[in-house]
């Protein structure tokens, strides 16, 4: 049964999800109005193109509509879950654009793995890395830590790809990722104190 829009607006995200799972468009609309802006912004940050960001955001929300029951409240907030879906979709979009859509073949487990993006150029990486303005906690990181985190999270590059393009040892890349996340986490904790 559909709930009225006004009633849906009073519900928390976690309360909306069961309604979305039961195909309630009003609940879904409220969910989009709350998080659609962040989702589109994230998609645009990753793909760097408005039309593509629109496509990625729409696909991500449609997948939520069709699998609303998959949300597990024990594993985090609805917003984080939604944004992780958008991020994965956007990275998939980048990979498919580069001709790396995963081949699905049960007989070859390796085909199910994410393919290495060896064809992606450093120029492409740098474009993605500088495509959006860095704000918030990540903006306070030392440049070398912010760069590896951005290339991984927003660019979809593996640590070995990043090491190769920045000409750094892999251990250094991993270490910078950890230091960066630790610093962001520390700042968040201070903000809560």
């Amino acid at each position: 049964m559909e709930v009225r829009r006004e009633k849906a607006e009073r519900l928390a995200d976690e309360e909306l999800m069961p309604l979305v799972g039961r195909k309630d468009p009003e609940a879904f609309e409220v969910l989009f109005d709350r998080h659609g802006g962040a989702a589109y912004s994230l998609a645009y940050r990753i793909v760097g193109d408005r039309a593509a960001a629109e496509e990625v955001t729409q696909e991500a929300f449609i997948s939520v509509w069709r699998s609303g029951a998959r949300f597990d409240a024990a594993r985090g907030s609805v917003r984080s879950w939604l944004l992780s879906i958008v991020r994965n979709r956007a990275i998939d979009f980048l990979r498919s654009k580069a001709g790396k859509a995963p081949k699905l073949d049960f007989d070859d487990d390796s085909a199910l793995e994410q393919r290495p993006a060896t064809e992606r150029t450093e120029e492409e990486a740098l474009r993605r890395e500088t495509a959006g303005e860095v704000r918030g906690a990540i903006g306070n990181l030392p440049g070398e830590q912010a760069k590896v985190i951005e290339l991984a999270y927003f660019g979809g590059f593996s640590h070995s790809e990043i090491a190769q393009m920045l000409q750094l040892p892999m251990g250094t890349v991993k270490g910078r990722m950890r230091l960066g996340l630790e610093k962001i986490r520390g700042e968040l904790a201070e903000g809560l104190a």
């Binding site: 408005r50 997948s63 793995e113 979809g156």
Partner: protein
């Protein structure tokens, strides 16, 4: 495990959270994490930092047509509770004919129930296929056109991970809509509505919310006899 041995896993934790491990490294890390409370705790501690990354991007205003197109699709999907192709296939069927068909079906179901109570071993008897892989006991119960996939002895999943089932039909891999959610006893099950033409059933570990296509090697692969 000594502290120095564990440094290796600590080094991989941030790349893991950022999605920056190679697939084989990721699988190895996840296997380790299943039994490592220290790493599980670190992942939980780092999660707010990871969640802050998408919030750090410059805010863009989505075009109004995005909302309009999305809601148009959602509302069109919400009205009928069946898939569009299924609707088209049945659209020639008149309402009286449908009512008659429902009545016939109800009688058939009732008759089948009575036969079932009598212990008949007729054509409606479920068939069972079972196997064991990676310590997980797998059982597929086929009944009619559908089936139920049962898993037992499933280990605790890493944070942010779910199990997703897939079927291969005529060479095409399709996700099973309902995710597998293990209970405290390590048991999970999901229903496969249409088993026609399915030759393989697979289970993979996927990111929270599931995936549209498998992103990790199968932890269970079961061939389905035709």
């Amino acid at each position: 495990m000594s502290g120095s041995d564990h440094n290796r896993w600590s080094e991989d934790l941030a790349p893991y959270m950022l999605g920056a491990l190679e697939p084989d490294e990721r699988a190895e890390f996840e296997r380790h994490m299943q039994g490592c409370e220290h790493c599980q705790g670190e992942v939980r501690w780092f999660e707010p930092a990871l969640n802050s990354l998408p919030e750090s991007v410059e805010r863009q205003k989505p075009p109004p047509r995005l909302r309009q197109a999305l809601m148009a699709e959602v509302r069109a999907d919400a009205r009928p509770q069946t898939r569009p192709e299924r609707r088209r296939a049945w659209s020639w069927f008149s309402r009286p004919a449908m009512a008659f068909a429902v009545l016939v079906l109800a009688v058939a179901v009732a008759a089948g129930y009575e036969i079932g109570k009598g212990g008949s071993d007729g054509g409606g008897t479920p068939s069972v296929i079972s196997t064991s892989e990676h310590g997980i006991d797998v059982k597929m119960v086929r009944e009619g056109n559908g089936g139920t996939l049962h898993l037992a002895n499933v280990h605790q999943l890493p944070p942010g991970k779910v199990l997703e089932a897939w079927v291969r039909r005529e060479g095409t891999v399709e996700p099973v809509p309902a995710l597998l959610v293990p209970d405290r006893q390590g048991q999970a099950e999901t229903t496969i509505a249409d088993m026609n033409g399915v030759d393989t059933v697979m289970v993979t570990e996927e990111p929270q919310g599931g995936s549209e296509a498998p992103t990790s090697p199968a932890i269970v692969t079961m061939s389905v006899p035709q």
